[in-house]
C-alpha cells in the first residue's frame, strides 16, 4: 500500500474535481447532528466529527429499494426488472473506518453463496475515501472488535490527519490508486509526518466473548439485561452492519412494485409465523438474537465479528442498552 501526502488546499481541489462529474456523499453538520448529503460545498463538510446519526449503509443497502415492477391482467402477469445499470457512480467521502469496514461485513451477508445483485451493483459503483478518527467518545469501541481508528478496511483511499493540518492518503486499493493517478499534482510524496489518531481503549476481549456466548443461550442475563429494551428498531437501523430486510408488494390497481425495506430482529413481528406461533415471543429472545448474530454466529461463519464498534446502537438507544457494557459483562459470565 502506497502512502501519499495531500495538502489541505489540495483536498479542496480534489473534492471540487470529484463533485464536478459525479455524486459525492459527504458528512455535514446540521444543528447538533451529523448527516451525509450529496455534493455539499467543501466548506460544509465536517472533518472532525465522531459519528453521523445514521451509518452510510444506505449507499449499498437503501432503507427502501424497489426490486421489481409487475402488472396483472385477467389472463396474465408480467414482470419488469430494475435496470441496475442506472445505479450511479458514487464517491463516499470522509467516512470513518468503522463505517467503511462495515461494507465487508455486509458483504458476508449479501455476497455469499447467492450474490445479491442490488447490493453488489451498488458496491461496485462505490469509491470510498475513508477518514481516520482523531476524535472519539465513550461509545466508540472499534479496537475491541479487531479494528482501529485508522483501519483501512473498506476504504479505497484512507485519509489521516497530520499534525500540521495536511493529510496522509493511503492508496488502499487499485480503485484508490487509479483515482489518485488522475490527479497527480494533488498527491505528493509522503515523508513520514506524524499523524493524529484517536486512542480508543479496548473494552472487552472479543474471542473470550464469542467463546462464552457459545454456551450462553439459556443464560438468565438475556432477560435481566433486556427488560428495559423497548423493542424498537433504532439499534438495527442505525447499525452499519445490520442487513435484514422485509419484502412487500404494493399494488395500485393492476400494477405494482415489489420492494425491500430495512427490518429488525428486535421487532416482535420479525419471526411471527402465519400460524400465530412466534419462536421469539418475548423481547429477551430478540435481544439475544441480536447479540448472538453479531458476536457468535457471524464470527463462527466468517471469522470476523459482525460489529464494527461504531457505538451507534448505544448512543441512539432511547433506553441506554449500551452494548459494550453488556459485552464486557458477558466476558465474565459463568
Amino acid at each position: 500500500m502506497e502512502s501519499k501526502l495531500i495538502r489541505k488546499e489540495s483536498l479542496e481541489k480534489l473534492y471540487g474535481n470529484l463533485i464536478a462529474d459525479r455524486k459525492v456523499y459527504a458528512p455535514v453538520k446540521v444543528s447538533d447532528k451529523i448527516e451525509y448529503r450529496y455534493n455539499p460545498s467543501f466548506r460544509e463538510i465536517t472533518f472532525d466529527h465522531v459519528r453521523s446519526t445514521l451509518s452510510v449503509k444506505n449507499l449499498v443497502f437503501p432503507k427502501v429499494e424497489n426490486v421489481l415492477y409487475f402488472k396483472n391482467s385477467k389472463t396474465e402477469s408480467s414482470v419488469n426488472d430494475i435496470d441496475l445499470n442506472r445505479i450511479p457512480e458514487v464517491v463516499l467521502w470522509g467516512a470513518h473506518p468503522c463505517d467503511t469496514a462495515a461494507f465487508d461485513i455486509l458483504c458476508s451477508t449479501f455476497c455469499g453463496d447467492i450474490k445479491d445483485e442490488f447490493f453488489s451493483s451498488r458496491l461496485e459503483k462505490l469509491t470510498v475515501i475513508g477518514l481516520s478518527c482523531h476524535k472519539r467518545d465513550d461509545y466508540c469501541f472499534c479496537t475491541s472488535v479487531g479494528l482501529a481508528p485508522d483501519s483501512s478496511m473498506g476504504s479505497d483511499i484512507l485519509l489521516t490527519l497530520l499534525e500540521n493540518g495536511d493529510y496522509k492518503a493511503d492508496l488502499v486499493t487499485d480503485k484508490g490508486s487509479s483515482l489518485a493517478a488522475r490527479y497527480p499534482d494533488l498527491f505528493e510524496t509522503y515523508s513520514g509526518q506524524k499523524s493524529l489518531v484517536a486512542e480508543i481503549k479496548k473494552k472487552f476481549n472479543l474471542s473470550e466473548v464469542t467463546k462464552k456466548l457459545a454456551n450462553a443461550f439459556e443464560h438468565p442475563m438475556w432477560k435481566e439485561n433486556s427488560l428495559r429494551c423497548l423493542g424498537c428498531g433504532a439499534c438495527a437501523f442505525l447499525c452499519p452492519t445490520c442487513g435484514c430486510f422485509d419484502i412487500q408488494d404494493e399494488t395500485h390497481g393492476s400494477t405494482g412494485v415489489r420492494y425491500r425495506s430495512w427490518d429488525s430482529c428486535g421487532f416482535s413481528l420479525f419471526t411471527l409465523h402465519t400460524s400465530g406461533h412466534n419462536p421469539r415471543h418475548v423481547q429477551s429472545q430478540r435481544w439475544r438474537q441480536r447479540i448472538m448474530h453479531k458476536f457468535s454466529y457471524i464470527p463462527g461463519k466468517n471469522g470476523i465479528a459482525g460489529c464494527v464498534g461504531c457505538g451507534r446502537c448505544s448512543s441512539g438507544c432511547p433506553v441506554d442498552m449500551n452494548i459494550d457494557e453488556q459485552l464486557a459483562a458477558m466476558e465474565n459470565i459463568n
Partner: protein, 267 residues
C-alpha cells in the same frame, strides 16, 4: 433520595412487590430504567433531573408483567399514564405500588388512585415551555409552509418505531401499521409512508396522549414527533375541556359519544 432506596428495599424485602422499577445511572452517566428484584440492589436507584423517561411503558410488557406485583417510581407524567392505562383496563391497580415522586425527588404520600387523582388535579399540567413555543411558532406558518416543515422533518424517519415503543399508550399487541391485509399504511420509510404513519399515530393518541414527550425523546434521528400529539391534546382540551390522564374512570374522548358533543364540524 435515601427515602426512595429505603422504601424500595422495604417493599422488596417484605415481599410486598416482586419487582421495583425506577431509574439508575448507566456507564456514560445517562439515567435509564432499572428493574430491581433483589433488595440488596436498591442502592443502584437514583432520582434527579436526568430521570425523564416515562416508565409506565413497561407495565404492559409481557416479560415485566410476569413478575407479579410491581412497584414503580412515578413522576407526574407516569401518574397520568397510569390513569389512562387504568381507564383502558390495561393495568390492575391492585397489582401495583405507585411511589409518587416530586420533581425534586421527594416521595409523595399516594396510597391509591384516588389520592393520585387529587395530586394530578392540583398539579400544573401545562406542556413544557419550549414545546409550546415551538408549537406557537409552527402555528404561525401558513398551512402549506407547515406541511412542508413536517414533510422535511418526517422525511428523516427510518420507521424504527422508537416513538411507538417508548409510548405507554401504544400498547396494541398488533399495531395497524403491521396489518398488511389490507395494507392500511405504506411500509416504506419514504416521505409519504412516514407522513401516513405519524398522522395515524397522532390521531390514535388524540385525547389519550398525556404530552410526556417520550416519543420525541426516543427518536434516534431527532424528529420532534411529540409536537403532533401535543398539538392534538391541546385541541381536544380546547374542544372538549378534557385532559387525558386526569382520572382512571375517563373514557377516551374520541371513542365515546356524548349528546352534548359539539356538532360544529357538520357544515
Amino acid at each position: 433520595m435515601s427515602n426512595l432506596n429505603t422504601k424500595a428495599k422495604e417493599l422488596l424485602a417484605s415481599n410486598t412487590v416482586k419487582m421495583f422499577i425506577g431509574y439508575e445511572a448507566g456507564p456514560t452517566g445517562l439515567a435509564r430504567p432499572a428493574f430491581i428484584t433483589d433488595p440488596e440492589q436498591t442502592d443502584r436507584l437514583i432520582f434527579d433531573e436526568r430521570c425523564k423517561q416515562n416508565l409506565a411503558v413497561y407495565l404492559t410488557k409481557q416479560e415485566v408483567k410476569e413478575y407479579g406485583k410491581i412497584a414503580i417510581v412515578a413522576t407526574l407524567p407516569v401518574m397520568r399514564s397510569l390513569m389512562v392505562l387504568a381507564s383502558e383496563n390495561q393495568i390492575s391497580p391492585e397489582n401495583l405500588v405507585v411511589l409518587g415522586i416530586s420533581p425534586d425527588g421527594n416521595l409523595l404520600n399516594i396510597a391509591d388512585f384516588s389520592l393520585m387523582q387529587t395530586y394530578i388535579e392540583k398539579s400544573d399540567l401545562s406542556n413544557p415551555k419550549g414545546d409550546e413555543e415551538k408549537l406557537a411558532e409552527l402555528l404561525k406558518l401558513s398551512p402549506a409552509e407547515r406541511f412542508e416543515w413536517w414533510q422535511n422533518e418526517l422525511s428523516k424517519c427510518i420507521k424504527c418505531f422508537a416513538c411507538r415503543q417508548a409510548c405507554p399508550m401504544c400498547y396494541c399487541s398488533r399495531c395497524t401499521i403491521e396489518v398488511n391485509q389490507p395494507q392500511w399504511i405504506p411500509v416504506q420509510a419514504n416521505t409519504h409512508g412516514n407522513m401516513d404513519w405519524h398522522i395515524l399515530r397522532a390521531m390514535h393518541l388524540a385525547g389519550r396522549c398525556i404530552s410526556c414527550g417520550e416519543c420525541g425523546r426516543a427518536c434516534p434521528v431527532g424528529i420532534p414527533c411529540h409536537l403532533l400529539s401535543m398539538h392534538l391534546s391541546n385541541q381536544v382540551n380546547r374542544q372538549f375541556k378534557v385532559q387525558a390522564g386526569t382520572s382512571d374512570k375517563m373514557a377516551s374522548v374520541l371513542s365515546t359519544y356524548d349528546p352534548n358533543d359539539k356538532e360544529s364540524f357538520i357544515r
